[in-house]
């Protein structure tokens, strides 16, 4: 059962900054970039990096996440000795169950899972990042620098640095200071929230942190600062590719728009496939009077209207004369004839009635206001949803 390196994926809590989109499903399975869901990126990165044990920690609406991951087959993770494992909170003998109280606590509670694999290294990942990264290369650097912890860092413009956790490194590249959202950043190296730990070391810190009543049980706030304070060896692994956190409506929209620029992130590269689970649907059909420009369209779609600068997941229907601009249409949603959808995110299975108007382009110099229709929501024929609205589906009783 021994594995040199396994991955633990923090699939997170509700992701409440995504509002209606995560009202009924966990953030990692939000549809993304047409064919994908967010979690496809870390899962595919693991498989492509040769990591075949991935623990997925979750306590929020795990049902669909569980069904989505299944045996791990779509990512080639359904191996005999390994695989993708959903790890919910649980009860142990003689104790009450505990919910995960922080990222570090979530890992702490799953020490028995980790030790099943007797790993030397553990990769800690997030379920809300879009990027392609070779963790094997990061691990090689971790080993080469005899690090206790290696943190992937991205160079950001100094003026943006105060929005990130910033690593200050010495001349050799070892981290000597970590500041969360510094007022006056002294470095442009932002933490990407991706860690490799030498397991024996991490285990010590998790046990100590769990016993600390003042700790928030968080990697960024507690574990890393404590390791720095104790002068452990922390290496900053420089990453230069595309990376986005998609934890908010705006960042989710922006990252989807980024997918329309294949030079920014190449999803067509067959040497590093991002894989997903998707139902078999017929090819998409582009109608006689349709117009498609600069867009992503997925199988099962039926497009009769015009679509530009937009990302359409599978089985989206766009009626005749409808217009979709700068929008994200998630699986199975329907836009009626003559409707106009602009700068919007339309959740799974939502219905936009005929001649409805959802969202609006940015007005002159004001910021872009993204309009969101939650999964299963409905806009009546001729309805108007003003820019910036957050529309929830009506709740069923029960």
């Amino acid at each position: 059962m021994k594995k040199e390196c396994i991955a633990m994926l923090l699939a997170g809590g509700q992701g409440s900054r995504l509002h209606a989109l995560t009202d009924r499903a966990a953030k990692p399975i939000i549809p993304f970039g047409g064919k994908y869901r967010i979690i496809d990126f870390p899962l595919s990165n693991c498989a492509n990096s040769g990591i075949d044990v991935v623990g997925v920690l979750t306590q929020y609406q795990p049902l669909r996440l569980n069904s989505y991951i299944g045996s791990g087959l779509p990512w080639d993770l359904d191996v005999q000795n390994g695989g993708a494992y959903i790890l919910p909170p649980y009860q142990i003998a003689g104790e009450n169950g505990k919910w995960f109280s922080g990222t570090a606590n979530a890992i702490y509670q799953n020490i028995p899972f980790i030790e099943m694999w007797d790993p030397e290294y553990v990769v800690i990942l997030s379920g809300d990042h879009i990027y392609k990264m070779d963790y094997a290369d990061m691990l090689a650097q971790h080993k080469a620098h005899a690090a206790d912890c290696t943190i992937a860092v991205l160079r950001v413009p100094l003026e943006d640095a105060s929005r990130f956790g910033i690593m200050e490194t010495d001349g050799d590249g070892y981290v000597h200071k970590f500041v969360e959202k510094p007022q006056e950043p002294k470095s442009d190296l932002a933490s990407m929230g991706i860690y490799i730990f030498t397991w024996e070391k991490l285990r010590q810190y998790l046990v100590a942190d769990e016993a600390d009543p003042n700790s928030e049980k968080d990697f960024g706030k507690n574990i890393i600062p404590k390791m720095l304070a104790n002068r452990e060896r922390l290496w900053a692994y420089p990453f230069s590719g595309y990376w986005r956190d998609v934890g908010t409506i705006d960042s989710l929209w922006e990252a989807n728009m980024d997918m329309l620029s294949p030079d920014v992130i190449d999803l067509y590269d067959r040497t590093w496939p991002i894989r997903s689970r998707s139902p078999v649907r017929p090819p998409h059909y582009i109608g006689r009077d349709a117009e498609i420009t600069h867009s992503i369209i997925t199988e099962g779609c039926d497009i009769r209207g015009s679509v530009s600068n937009s990302v359409l997941s599978s089985s989206v229907t766009v009626g005749e004369g409808a217009r979709i601009d700068y929008s994200i249409l998630m699986p199975g949603c329907t836009v009626g004839p003559g409707a106009v959808v602009q700068y919007a995110i339309i959740g799974e299975g939502a219905t936009i009635g005929a001649n409805a108007a959802v969202g609006a382009p940015p007005n002159g110099k004001t910021n872009i206001l993204i309009t969101t229709c939650g999964p299963g929501s409905a806009v009546a024929n001729g309805g108007v949803i003003p820019a910036g609205t957050m529309l929830y589906a009506e709740r069923r009783d029960g």
């Binding site: 970039g33 047409g34 064919k35 779509p74 329309l260 294949p262 999803l267 067509y268 496939p273 991002i274 894989r275 997903s276 689970r277 998707s278 078999v280 017929p282 090819p283 998409h284 059909y285 582009i286 109608g287 006689r288 009077d289 349709a290 117009e291 498609i292 420009t293 600069h294 867009s295 992503i296 369209i297 997925t298 199988e299 990302v311 359409l312 997941s313």
Partner: protein, 372 residues
């Protein structure tokens, strides 16, 4: 669940398919952007709850093996039963070089057929595109009381030349078989798909073997009807076509651009399953245009596409213009190329600026891997 065991004929490819079946059998021809022809037979069975299926193969079936795998994509990877591949020489009593007719192919798998636990079989062609409601057909079979039921249409359909027809003598049964060239009149066209009792099929196999007969209709079924027996029929009213020539292949793909045909072949209640392969969505560039086309995932379209059927991974570069084409997986169309009425097999590459044109009656076939 119907008490049925499926048999799919994937051993024969009409020579009129030419280079399209050089590297595959007709059953594994790519169809409607992301399917293979055999998906229709397998899915019809899966949707009716028929999970035990044998596929008879003869040659050039490596691509079919790859496509079928363990049968998991059709829920036919089972602990008992499930999908069984029946290539030649698989069993000791199937030492026949080439099957000269359907009955010989069935005879080669006689011991397989004798061992099946269901009491009837559904004999399905692998080269036909239809979404059969097999549950309804099976009910018709039971209702007719006959030992064999023909799946028919009440209209002629494309592909494979003239039809075998049956003359009904009641609303459930037929007693006469008409061969091509026979008189016209009220008769149903056979889809060449049959439900048949296992015991009868074994009898007919043995009769054909001992009388050196090779063919299902001309020999086995004719013999059965001569004895005064009747056959039941079930009328399939939706889309159907058979793929026996390059023209059939082209026409059937083009048929899919019509909404009604797609609705017939892909009804919500009987989905068509195929081998699942993960891929990226299709990307349309800033200067692309597309009209009346079917496009699978993973394409990258910067040019213009009209009345086309595109499989996975097709790349259409800038200023390329495609009209009335069927392009299989990973075809690359160079900048400014202009293609009309072209059927391109997998991995073909069209250089920048190349101009090619077939016609609707004679589409230009470009073989696998060719650079033009």
């Amino acid at each position: 669940m119907p008490d049925l065991h499926g048999i799919i004929y994937a051993y024969h490819s009409s020579s009129a398919l030419g280079e399209l079946v050089f590297h595959r059998t007709s059953a594994s021809l790519p169809f409607c952007s992301r399917y293979r022809l055999i998906d229709f037979a397998l899915s019809s069975m899966a949707n009716a709850g028929v999970h035990d299926v044998g596929v008879i193969m003869q040659r050039d079936y490596q691509s079919l093996l790859d496509h079928l795998g363990s049968g998991k994509d059709w829920d036919m990877s089972r602990l008992t039963g499930g999908l069984t591949l029946l290539p030649p020489f698989g069993q000791h009593d199937s030492r026949i070089g080439e099957y000269r007719g359907c009955m010989e192919a069935l005879a080669a798998e006689r011991s397989y057929i004798a061992d099946i636990k269901q009491s009837s079989l559904i004999l399905y062609r692998g080269d036909v595109a239809l979404n059969l409601d097999l549950r309804a057909a099976y009910e018709a079979h039971l209702a007719s009381g006959c030992e064999v039921t023909a799946i028919c249409t009440d209209h002629p359909f494309n592909g494979g030349g003239e039809r075998i027809r049956f003359v009904p003598d009641s609303d459930k049964t037929a007693n006469r078989m008409l061969f091509p060239g026979a008189e016209n009149g009220r008769a149903l066209c056979s889809s060449e798909i049959y439900i048949i009792r296992k015991s009868l099929l074994l009898e007919l196999i043995d009769w054909c073997r001992s009388n050196a007969r090779l063919h299902f209709h001309r020999d086995a079924l004719a013999h059965y009807l001569e004895s005064g027996a009747k056959l039941g029929y079930y009328i399939h009213r939706g889309y159907i076509s058979r793929i026996c020539s390059a023209e059939d292949y082209y026409r059937a793909n083009m048929d899919m651009l019509d909404y009604k045909n797609r609705a017939d072949l892909f009804p919500t209640e009987r989905p068509v399953y195929t081998r699942v392969r993960s891929s990226v969505s299709t990307y349309y560039g800033e200067e692309s245009s597309a009209e009346n086309s079917l496009v699978a995932d993973g394409c990258f379209i910067e040019g213009s596409v009209e009345n086309c059927v595109l499989c996975r991974g097709v790349r259409v570069k800038k200023d390329a213009v495609l009209k009335n084409c069927v392009l299989m997986q990973d075809t690359v169309i160079g900048e400014g190329a202009r293609l009309q009425y072209v059927v391109a097999d997998k991995y073909t590459v069209f250089s920048d600026g190349v101009v090619l044109s077939g016609s609707s009656g004679l589409p230009l076939i470009v073989p696998k891997g060719k650079s033009v």
